[in-house]
C-alpha cells in the first residue's frame, strides 16, 4: 500500500484500527462505525419497507421473492424455538439478522479503499483520515445490541413471570435448600450477565479478528492479493454465521424469558 510505504506495519495497523471520533472522554462518538451502522440500517429498512408497501399476495417480483426468503427463514427460526405469542420477537430477529449481516459484510470492503477514496475526493492527508467501516468491529456497537436484547429479556421475564416469579427463578435454583439461596442468586446473576457479554464479545471478537487479519495481509506487499481473496472467501462463512448466531441466541434468550421452569 502506498500509505504503508511511509509507515511501519505497526503504525499502519494502529492507524486503521482507530476510529474517526467526535467529542471527549465518555462523550466521544465514533462517527465512522455509528454512521455506517445507521446507514446500513437505513438500507435494510428502506429496502424491506419498499417491498412491504408493494407486497402482493399474487405472483411476487424478484426483490419481493428475495425479501420473502429472508423473512420466511427468520420466521421459521423463530417458530422452531419460540412457541409463545409475541409480536416483537420475529421483527426483532429479522432486524438483528439483516442488520448484523450487512454490518459484517462491510468486512469485504478492501481496508484501504475508503481512506483512499476520501483522500482522492477531499484531498485530506491519508495519515489524518480515520475510517473504520465495519461497525461490528466496534465493541460499542455489539454491546449496544446485546444490551438491547438483555433489557428485553429482563422486561419479558418480569412481565411473564411477575417480579416475584423472576426473583424466585434467580434464587431457588439450581439448589433447592433455602440456606443456599444466596449462592443460587450469585450463580444465576452471573449466568444472566454472561449472556449479553458473550453475545456482544463473540460478534465483536470474530469480526475484529477478521479485520485485523485483513490489515496484516495488507502489509505483506504484492502477494497480499491471493491471500486477501482466500481470507475474503473464508468470510463467506464467518459473516452470515455470526449474524445467524446473534439472531438465534436472541430468540433463545427471549424464549427462555417466556418459559416457567
Amino acid at each position: 500500500m502506498s500509505a504503508s510505504a511511509e509507515l511501519t506495519s505497526q503504525e499502519y495497523i494502529r492507524h486503521h484500527l482507530s476510529n474517526l471520533t467526535v467529542g471527549e472522554g465518555f462523550w466521544t462518538v465514533h462517527v465512522d462505525t455509528l454512521g455506517w451502522a445507521v446507514f446500513l440500517g437505513f438500507i435494510f429498512l428502506l429496502t424491506f419497507r419498499s417491498v412491504a408497501k408493494k407486497a402482493t399476495t399474487g405472483v411476487p417480483g424478484k426483490l419481493q421473492c428475495a425479501v420473502e426468503m429472508i423473512v420466511e427463514f427468520v420466521d421459521d427460526s423463530v417458530k422452531s424455538t419460540f412457541h409463545g405469542k409475541n409480536p416483537l420477537i420475529a421483527p426483532l430477529a429479522l432486524t438483528i439478522f439483516v442488520w448484523v449481516l450487512l454490518m459484517n459484510a462491510m468486512d469485504w470492503v478492501p481496508v484501504d479503499l475508503l481512506p483512499h477514496l476520501i483522500h482522492w475526493v477531499t484531498g485530506i492527508e491519508l495519515s489524518h483520515i480515520y475510517m473504520k467501516p465495519v461497525p461490528t468491529t466496534d465493541p460499542n456497537i455489539t454491546f449496544a445490541m446485546a444490551f438491547g436484547v438483555f433489557f428485553l429479556v429482563i422486561y419479558y421475564s418480569i412481565k411473564v413471570k411477575g417480579l416475584g416469579g423472576f426473583i424466585k427463578e434467580l434464587t431457588t435454583q439450581p439448589f433447592g435448600h433455602w440456606s443456599l439461596y444466596p449462592v443460587n442468586f450469585i450463580l444465576e446473576t452471573v449466568t444472566m450477565l454472561a449472556r449479553p457479554l458473550s453475545l456482544a464479545l463473540r460478534l465483536f471478537g470474530n469480526l475484529y479478528a477478521g479485520e485485523l487479519i485483513f490489515l496484516l495481509i495488507a502489509t505483506i506487499g504484492l502477494f497480499q492479493l491471493p491471500v486477501h481473496f482466500l481470507w475474503a472467501a473464508f468470510h463467506l462463512l464467518v459473516i452470515p454465521l455470526q449474524a445467524f448466531i446473534f439472531m438465534m441466541l436472541t430468540i433463545v434468550y427471549l424464549s427462555l424469558a417466556h418459559e416457567d421452569h
Binding site: 462518538v29 419497507r49 407486497a55 399476495t57 423473512v71 420466521d75 420475529a90 421483527p91 460499542n140
Partner: protein, 156 residues
C-alpha cells in the same frame, strides 16, 4: 476497546429500527406470505376436489353408457323380431295368393280342357261317321247304325 457514547447512539438506533421493523416492515410482508400460502392451499384443495368430481362424473358417464348400450340392444332386438314377423306375414300372404292364383288357374285349365274334350268328342263322332260313310260307300243307313256310333262315342 473504549466504551463511550457510541453505545448510546447505537442503542437508540437499534430501538428505533426494531420498532420501525415491527410496525411497518414485518406485518405486511408476513401477511402477504401467509395470504399467498392460504391461496395456494385453497387452490390445491380445489384441484383435489375437482379430480374427485371428475372421477365421479366418469363413473356416472360409464354407467350411463352401459345402460344406453343395453337399451339400444333391446331396441334392435325388438326391431329384428318385428321385422321377422312382418316378413313372415308377407310370406304367408304371398303363399296364400299364389295358391289362390294357382287354384283358379287350375280350375280354368280344367274347364277349358273339358270343353275341348267335349268338342273333340263330338268332332270325332262326326269324323267317324264320315269315315264310315266313305268306307261303306253310302250303304250304311246313318239312322240304323246310330246306336253303334253312340256306343263308340261313349267309349271315347
Amino acid at each position: 476497546m473504549d466504551i463511550n457514547a457510541t453505545l448510546i447512539g447505537q442503542l437508540v438506533a437499534f430501538v428505533v429500527f426494531v420498532i420501525f421493523c415491527m410496525k411497518y416492515v414485518w406485518p405486511p410482508i408476513i401477511g402477504a406470505i401467509e395470504a399467498r400460502q392460504a391461496t395456494i392451499a385453497d387452490g390445491l384443495a380445489a384441484s383435489d376436489r375437482a379430480a374427485k368430481d371428475l372421477e365421479l362424473a366418469q363413473e356416472k358417464a360409464t354407467a350411463q353408457l352401459k345402460e344406453a348400450k343395453i337399451e339400444a340392444a333391446s331396441i334392435v332386438d325388438a326391431a329384428k323380431k318385428h321385422e321377422a314377423k312382418i316378413v313372415e306375414e308377407a310370406a304367408g300372404k304371398a303363399q296364400a295368393e299364389k295358391e289362390k292364383i294357382l287354384a283358379s288357374g287350375h280350375a280354368e285349365i280344367e274347364t277349358e280342357r273339358n270343353r275341348a274334350k267335349e268338342e273333340l268328342r263330338q268332332q270325332v263322332a262326326v269324323l267317324a261317321v264320315a269315315g264310315a260313310e266313305k268306307i261303306l260307300e253310302r250303304s250304311i243307313d246313318a239312322a240304323a247304325h246310330s246306336d253303334i256310333l253312340d256306343k263308340l262315342v261313349a267309349e271315347l
